[in-house]
């Protein structure tokens, strides 16, 4: 790519405030500044880690990027284009480019739908031309990609383990052939042994498909392993941004130091 290449994602002064309302007409009586003036950049094909303790606003950033919450202010540029305040209909093309993987594998799959229907929903929306047989073939292929078997597609989510469900969630995100995936603590709810498998799967997929990740976690150990660049977040603000090694070797912010102390030393 020619220099200077546009970064895939540029976030400037992003603010997400949630109103606190009361009364019959939902009068606004205050606000929660979940994300307060946050700026960062994600280069194509890289992984940016986002760490911070519970309630620091990590999920809210991820959701703002994929428009599950509306930003209050700032700009989000995707591939150079301002997508911050697009209407839902204008944002729709980006729904095919940006996807999300959730923390809780038990609640991220609709318990009433089969795996085929769950993944196929993405295909029906973004590849309406595909017939049933083609969709089944594609779902089988996606399941193969995440290390599951095609015959799993007619089962229900409760028949799978946490790690397997997370793989299904990944397959659903991959179904639209995205460029950028927000991974919101994808391994926090899993056993340590399974965590490594999922992290490795995400890395393999990144290599194979050229994906870009925003990888959210609440401890530095997971993020350090997978990220090229790390953002440390505290109370809605980014307090430190550096490469993974720099953060590990030479933390600047006292909050980062505290986070590092929490990581078990080997």
């Amino acid at each position: 790519m020619n220099a200077p290449a546009t970064p895939l994602l540029q976030v400037e002064n992003l603010k997400v405030h949630f109103p606190i309302t009361a009364g019959l007409l939902q009068r606004r009586i205050g606000e929660v500044k979940a994300v307060d003036d946050v700026s960062f950049t994600i280069e194509r094909g890289t992984t940016v880690g986002l760490v911070g303790e519970s309630g620091s606003g990590k999920t809210t950033i991820g959701r703002a990027l994929i428009r599950l919450v509306n930003p209050t202010g700032g700009t989000i540029r995707y591939n150079g284009k301002d997508i911050t305040f697009l209407r839902e209909s204008q944002f729709r093309p980006y729904r095919k480019k940006i996807q999300i993987i959730f923390q809780d594998p038990y609640n991220s799959l609709n318990p009433r739908l089969t795996i085929f229907k769950i993944i196929s929903e993405a295909l029906e929306i973004h590849f309406p031309a595909l017939g049933l047989e083609q969709r089944r073939a594609r779902v089988a292929e996606l399941l193969g990609k995440v290390g599951l078997k095609p015959e799993h597609m007619d089962r229900y989510p409760h028949e799978f383990s946490g790690g397997q469900r997370q793989r299904i969630g990944i397959a659903r995100a991959l179904a639209v052939e995205p460029e950028f995936i927000v991974c919101d603590e994808p391994v926090s709810a899993l056993d340590v042994s399974v965590q490594a498998q999922i992290v490795n799967l995400l890395q393999d997929l990144q290599e194979e498909l050229g994906l870009t990740y925003l990888f959210i976690a609440h401890d530095l150990a997971v993020v350090e392993h997978i990220s090229d660049f790390v953002l440390v977040m505290n109370q809605g603000k980014i307090v430190e941004a550096a490469t993974a090694e720099a953060i590990y070797q030479n933390p600047q912010d006292p909050y980062t130091k505290r986070l590092l102390d929490a990581v078990p030393k080997i």
């Binding site: 019959l24 940006i98 993405a122």
Partner: protein
Amino acid sequence: MTSDLLHQILRRRAGAFCLVVLILFYVAAFFAPLLAPYATSDQDLTKTYHPPTGVVWQEGRLAVRLYKLVDPTCAKYEAEPGQFAPIHFWVKAPTYHFLGFIPVSHRLFGVEAPARLYLLGSDETGRDVFSRLLYGSRVSLTIGLIGILITTVIGLTVGGLAGYFGGVFDSVAMRGTELIMAIPGLYLIIALRAALAKYFDDSDQIFILIVVILSFIGWAGTARVIRGLTLSLRNRPFIYAAEALGQGPVTILWKHLFPNLFSYLIVTSMLSIPGYILGEAALSFLGIGIQEPSTSWGLMLSQVQDLKVFMLNFWWLLTPGLAIFITVILFNVLGDVVRDIVDPKLKTQV
């Protein structure tokens, strides 16, 4: 899901029993014109307050005893020894249009006039209580189903949208439900009945009017609970996942939210059908419900508000009350069984 639920109900003794008996009730109601020996208004003024006729096995076939009125002042009948009228099956009867278009000119069983077959006795004008009970069950049993259908649709729409979108629509809708729930039910029913009566003056339309009134009162509770459940489901990641894929809100409600409310809806429906049956009975009992020539269990009960019935022990005239009682119990038990199946955590500790 549905067939699985059915399977589980049938595996439990109480559930299987209630379900089978209820299905029998509904089948009987459906085929009432065939099963009932007489029409609802088929009078015989020589046989008022006739006790149930004895059915005996006589000369290789079923037959009914014949009775003689011994004391007209207190409607005392005595069986005449050795006198029987044979019961015929598939007898000719005045033509009736089943479901409004299939002409039927037979009934399943009956006796030759002038003898009368009163399986559950007769009322003050000699009409057959058993036949009226069958015809009346059509009103009493369907009112719950139709009512539930209407309240579920309204409750799902209002509660689902309120819970999903929140905001001003939510608070307005919820204040609306509170308004309805704040007024005592019976007064609201009577007031609505009075207010709406002029639009439903035909006696056939009274049935519709009653369903409308009962549903109008019933939807509020359903809507509130649906809203609560929707609120809790709304923040489940699979809803966000669908939004992130670009799925529209209506499809999300339909495909992701409502199926997850299904088991709840089944349970509440079962448990609130008795409310409709009792509501109809109460209205009819007060004389502002189903009107002659239609009939219902509530109307039949209201027609026996007579001291004579109790003093002279015409117990068979109270069978509509028993029918209401049994149906309500069956629905309640079935509802409990279904609830235990779909949500074992709510299981009542005994």
